[in-house]
Amino acid sequence: MSGASTAHSVVEPSATSKRIAAFLVILYAVVTMVPLAWIFATAWKTPPDSISYPPKIVFDPSLEGYCNLFTTRTRQTDEYIESLGPPQGACEEVTRKREMVIAGPSNYIPRFINSLIIAFGSTFLAVSLGVFAAYAFSRFKIPLKDDLLFFILSTRMMPPIAVAIPIYLMYREVGLSDSALGMVLLYTAVNVSLAVWLLKGFIDEIPREYEEAAMIDGYTRLQAFFKVVLPQAATGIAATSIFCLIFAWNEYAFAVLLTSGQAQTAPPFIPTIIGEGGMDWPAVGAGTTLFLIPVVVFTVLLRKHLLRGITFGAVRK
């Protein structure tokens, strides 16, 4: 093996080992994508196709899944449907074929908007609070610092259901039940502990000399923080944002227990999309697909920072 690698640096893997590695990784990636591909494909099936036996791999694509995701429908008599004008748009067409008419929009869009507000709002708050606290923990002498830090992290160890019991009672008292504000505060609190720990790792790595030089140039401590430290911590902020967002975007337990309508996010909603019998799998597939897009886009945009973020900034070359 070492003979083959003479052309490269000694630590560069050989061409053969690269090929084997590529094969295995791609194999894993393909296998792991099968369930996902099935979700995406199901979104384009008709409800009967989605529950056919054996499962249909080849099928005629249909818009019914997406249509059903965005609408509610009621069954009507033939006479009634015939009395209506010609169908407007493809969704009405597929609905009429099932002897139903579109009754109105479904709750998917309001739930999705709630998700956007709550997830991005709480991520922004958690990262903002986190970066200040992390800076303070990194740079200043704070009494009981280690205890405080561990205390902050320990808040993440509680099972969400356990946290939800008193929060439920508290929100009921102060009127935050089923409100976006309540959910933003809660997700911020859960995420801020992660944010502080992640960001402290990054800020620890920024040499103090940078700020000190800036302060000698006449900057105040605060100006130095905003103009010197923040830009340097950009990678850490990006990585932290990804993790906070993935959590807040996908969270289910708090959402299902603490919201019942107005402020409910999409994760509790998607598993409850039912058709005329059991689950409306094409609509569920469609809802899942659309719900995945924002977080994947966000992650892909910031993916360079992901690797450092995941280890609490502990990677030091």
Binding site: A136, M158, P271
Partner: protein, 317 residues
């Protein structure tokens, strides 16, 4: 990240002069407190106050759906009930099985993948991103959809297994069989979270400086030897970190399993958090479930504490 720079500039310049003057006069100590205080206040309000309330409730017979019932102090009754309840122990065993095997498979596969990706073959960045997608899904949605995939007649999973093994697809029930169901949830969690472990391990592998390998190469140490005496020991703190994170998360596991099996068949996959949810938010035994929440918290806090100590020892080596 120039935009973050710009934001920082804007924030700095947008600070009104009078405020700026006031802040300029702030000592480091007051800045430290100014920076830490919001986080601490938030955590006190959303985590600590509720925690204390939970402890208080755990000694009472309070039920959140019975506002008119007099609240009585019951002392340690709930704690005794819980610790002597066979159902709770069964739930703890199910949780232990789940936590152990998910960590085992995720670490094994995750580390292998990281090692392979670290061969830096062409396109490794792209395939890594693909592999990451499952962990960006909402666990609730994942549980819901795998219920569909596991359907013996219409689901993809049994069909694929039957394709490779020749067993008839409807001859086994992943979610309905007492022996298979505990593994069904392990498979889904492993599918979803192996990428996360892979990321952490990858960070670990990338943290090993090249010169160590170069030195080993000079000493003519075999690749096998290099793996066991350099790669693995140096990546070990990262692997342990991954185990810690996954351990805590899966100990708290609720959403995915709740939607996949609902704890069934019977109570085979009823994890601790599911029992807690049933007691707290279906039966509304607030006092009992508060005590259970405290016990769970103590367990996870204690185990994590011991583990972090071990981790620190490994790091110091």
């Amino acid at each position: 990240m120039p935009d973050i720079n710009a934001v920082a500039d804007r924030v700095a310049s947008a600070t009104p002069p009078s405020v700026a003057r006031a802040i300029r006069g702030l000592s480091d100590c007051s800045i430290a407190w100014l920076f830490v205080a919001p986080t601490i206040v938030l955590l006190l309000a959303i985590n600590i106050f509720p925690l204390i309330w939970t402890i208080h409730l755990s000694f009472t017979n309070y039920a959140s759906n019975r506002p008119n019932r007099p609240v009585v102090n019951v002392g340690l009754k709930w704690y005794q009930d819980i610790l002597s309840s066979p159902e709770v122990w069964a739930a703890m065993q199910a949780t232990a099985h789940f936590v152990f095997w998910t960590i085992f498979f995720q670490t094994l596969i995750g580390f292998t993948l990281a090692y392979l990706v670290d061969r830096k073959f062409r396109g490794h960045a792209f395939w890594t991103t693909i592999i990451l997608i499952p962990m960006m899904l909402s666990p609730a949605v994942v549980g819901n959809f795998w219920k569909f995939l596991y359907q013996p007649q219409i689901g993809l999973f049994n069909y694929i297994v039957s394709f490779f093994t020749g067993l008839p697809p409807s001859s086994f029930e992943m979610l309905g069989s007492v022996t298979l169901a505990p593994w069904a949830i392990v498979i889904v969690d492993t599918w979803m979270w192996t990428p996360y472990v892979m990321l952490i391990c990858l960070a670990g592998l990338r943290s090993i400086p090249d010169y160590i390998y170069e030195a080993a190469e000079v000493d003519r140490a075999s690749k096998w030897r290099q793996f066991w005496s350099i790669t693995l020991p140096m990546a070990l703190p990262f692997i342990m970190l991954a185990v810690l994170f996954r351990g805590i998360e899966n100990f708290k596991m609720f959403d995915m399993v709740m939607l996949l099996t609902g704890g069934g068949p019977g109570s085979t996959t009823e994890l601790a958090s599911i029992t807690l949810k049933r007691q707290a938010f279906e039966a509304y035994r607030t006092g009992y479930s508060s005590a259970f929440a405290i016990i769970l918290f103590v367990v996870v806090f204690g185990l994590a504490n011991i583990y972090v100590r071990a981790l620190n020892k490994v790091k110091q080596r």
